[in-house]
């Protein structure tokens, strides 16, 4: 008995020592840009909870195993635009042309924090396989500091990617086990730097616009109990890089994590309502509470509404379809706490347009 206790104590102490070291790891900002880029507004709103909410027929599943629940083949194209996308488009051109001085002038005129996402995607899906192509996704984050010694904290990502999902279902007694695998190939240009105006004026070449290509394999599994409420549990490993070439990706984009989710569908007379919760086990997210997110989706005919909430963040959006056209709008709010404990709120709006066949 005492041998078991001693080994149990060793294991507990090992876990405690490791977790307390991870707790000092650098924390990323609230705008996590790791993992797959969102292909549509619904995925942006729901974040990790998208994997356990099945309320969108036209959308592409976030979890590859959920593909096995599809009933028909679909082709779709989407564009989503955050506010100030025209400015971000200017930055994208400077980055692609490596015009450092042009970029500097624009960046240091941006004295308010800015977070914008712009992207487009095309996909085709069936109950067994889906293929998605993202010709462009731009994620721009900047935070300007110190007017007496101007500095900008930048995280600019320009990405093109191809994503293939495959799924297979296994019927069990009164339940279903869905297995899925997602393969993602990305080509990225990144500018992740804290840049001071005078350092860049001294030598514009310090702006390090880097390029890399990566291939990720992301397996996942969903277990669903076949009852009226359809309770389910999902698990998916993400950002598992199996190949990489070019420059080393920035730390904010590197490192794998897994999502563990649980959800259910509420039996309703009209429409479909799903509720779910997701836990993201990512060592870069220091606070335990920031790893948890709650989400809900409601689908009624042509209308699809989504809402999700986490610590210091929430998002809500609605999209509608008419014939083949689809449009949507979403509102995002982040709360940031300063050194003196005061809280500041950042709000953004994003629009979506698409075609579904």
């Amino acid at each position: 008995m005492s041998l078991m206790v001693s080994w149990a104590v060793r294991v507990v102490m090992l876990l405690w020592a490791i977790s307390s070291c991870w707790a000092t790891a650098q924390m990323t900002n609230n705008h996590s840009i790791k993992g797959p880029v969102p292909l549509e507004l619904r995925q942006m709103i729901l974040g990790g909870t998208c994997q356990v909410l099945f309320t969108s027929e036209a959308g592409l599943p976030c979890h590859p195993a959920a593909l096995a629940r599809e009933k028909q083949n679909t082709f779709a194209s989407q564009i989503y635009l955050g506010e100030h996308y025209d400015r971000v488009n200017g930055y994208r051109k400077d980055i692609e042309n490596k015009n450092e001085l042009g970029l500097v002038e624009k960046l240091f005129e941006e004295t308010e924090p800015l977070h914008v996402r712009v992207g487009s995607a095309l996909w085709v899906k069936s109950p067994v396989v889906s293929v998605a192509y993202v010709p462009l996704h731009v994620s721009y984050y900047s935070d300007f500091r110190n007017r007496a010694y101007p500095e900008v904290d930048l995280k600019i990502l320009v990405e093109r990617s191809v994503q293939i999902q495959g799924a297979h279902s296994v019927d069990l007694a009164q339940s279903q086990l869905l297995l899925g695998l997602q393969m993602r190939g990305v080509d990225r240009q990144t500018l992740f730097q804290n840049v001071a105006l005078f350092d860049v004026l001294s030598d514009p070449k310090i702006l390090q616009i880097e390029t890399h290509e990566s291939l990720f394999l992301e397996p996942g599994v969903i277990w669903i109990h076949e009852s009226s409420w359809q309770p389910r549990v999902s698990l998916m490993a993400q950002n598992l890089q199996v190949y990489q070439s070019g420059a080393q990706p920035p730390a904010a984009l590197a490192g794998n994590y897994f999502d563990l989710g649980s959800g259910f569908s509420v039996p309703m007379s009209y429409g479909q309502l799903d509720l779910g919760v997701n836990y993201r086990n990512d060592p870069q997210i220091e606070e335990f509470s920031e790893r948890i997110r709650f989400g809900t989706g409601y689908n009624l005919g042509l209308m699809n509404a989504n809402f999700s909430i986490g610590v210091d963040q929430w998002a809500i959006g609605v999209s509608t379809s008419f014939l083949s056209a689809r449009t949507g709008v979403a509102f995002f709010q982040d709360n940031v706490t300063g050194w003196d404990g005061t809280r500041e709120t950042k709000q953004t709006v994003t629009l979506e347009f698409g075609l579904v066949f």
Binding site: F108, N146, P150, F198
Partner: protein
């Protein structure tokens, strides 16, 4: 507690120590982390328009021996004083943009006019004698517009609030007293702050004070001129080091040489009393607010 229990405790103690040393082997130096946090907090207070709090946090760390953090602490502390002086360096971005747009616009306009007139002269042989006159006029035109452009740009340079220039000078002092060489970007920053200080001294007539009290002598005039030269050449040296492109460095170096040569010519002059009096009158009129002069 029996023998088995005691040996279990000993094993736990040794395992715990070895786990801590292995799993936490990559922890960063605590002092560097503290200094980085202090700099971040100071920057936060500067952004909240409370530079006094930033100065309070960073002043005790100014003599830190850690070379990685030392420059960062020195720069952020200097920027806290700059913030307190009221200088807003974001305005510099508009000045840089305007200088690039204006120079290319004037250059293009003059070249267009020049080529059209030269074409016209070429097509009319009886105007051939006017060609040289015309080229001189174009050169004068360029010079006048360069002066106007420079004056307009200088007007847009950021300045400190009235009465807050000592804070700007304290920032410059902090950057000059660095025990280790600063990076090129930091030297460029210091040069820019020195230029703003120099411009403010010119506007507030801090140079040539002997002229203002009407007591000019050859020695006092040369000593004031030397003071202006030292300040201005110091700025040029910082700009030369801070701008790392060889073309920019060569341009500044040539300008510095030109200024020093012109001043050396003045120093080698032996001025008579009447000539000094004329110089005093001219400078006095230029420096006095109503242009009338303070001296009889």
């Amino acid at each position: 507690m029996g023998r088995q229990g005691f040996s279990t405790l000993v094993m736990v103690f040794f395992v715990w120590n070895s786990m801590l040393s292995i799993s936490c082997a990559n922890k960063s130096d605590p002092q560097t982390s503290d200094h980085s946090l202090a700099v971040e907090e100071a920057q936060y207070w500067i952004d909240q328009n409370q530079p006094d709090r930033a100065i309070e946090i960073l002043s005790p760390l100014l003599s830190t021996p850690d070379s990685d953090a030392a420059e960062r602490i020195r720069l952020t502390l200097a920027s806290a004083y700059v913030s307190r002086s009221g200088v807003d360096l974001v305005q510099l971005i508009a000045v840089i943009k305007k200088s690039r747009e204006f120079s290319s616009e004037i250059g293009t306009n003059i070249s267009d006019v020049e080529s059209k007139v030269l074409q016209y002269i070429g097509a009319n042989p009886d105007l051939a004698d006017s060609r040289e006159v015309f080229l001189v006029l174009i050169q004068v035109y360029r010079t006048i517009f360069t002066i106007i452009e420079t004056v307009e740009l200088l007007e847009q340079f950021p300045t400190a609030n009235p009465g807050q220039q000592p804070d700007l000078q304290q920032a410059i002092r902090i950057l000059r007293e660095s025990p280790t060489p600063l990076s090129n970007g930091s030297v460029l920053y210091r040069g820019m702050l020195r230029f703003i200080d120099f411009q403010m001294n010119l506007k507030s007539q801090k140079y040539f004070s002997s002229i203002q009290i009407c007591k000019i002598t050859r020695d006092s005039f040369f000593s004031e001129l030397k003071r202006v030269e030292n300040d201005f050449v110091g700025i040029l040296e910082d700009l030369e080091q801070g701008l790392t492109k060889p073309k920019d460095q060569s341009r500044i170096r040539n300008f510095k040489t030109q200024v020093q040569e012109e001043l050396n010519k003045i120093y080698s002059q032996s001025f008579h009393e009447q000539e000094l009096y004329e110089i005093q009158l001219s400078l006095n009129r230029w420096l006095s607010p109503d242009g009338e002069g303070l001296c009889p």
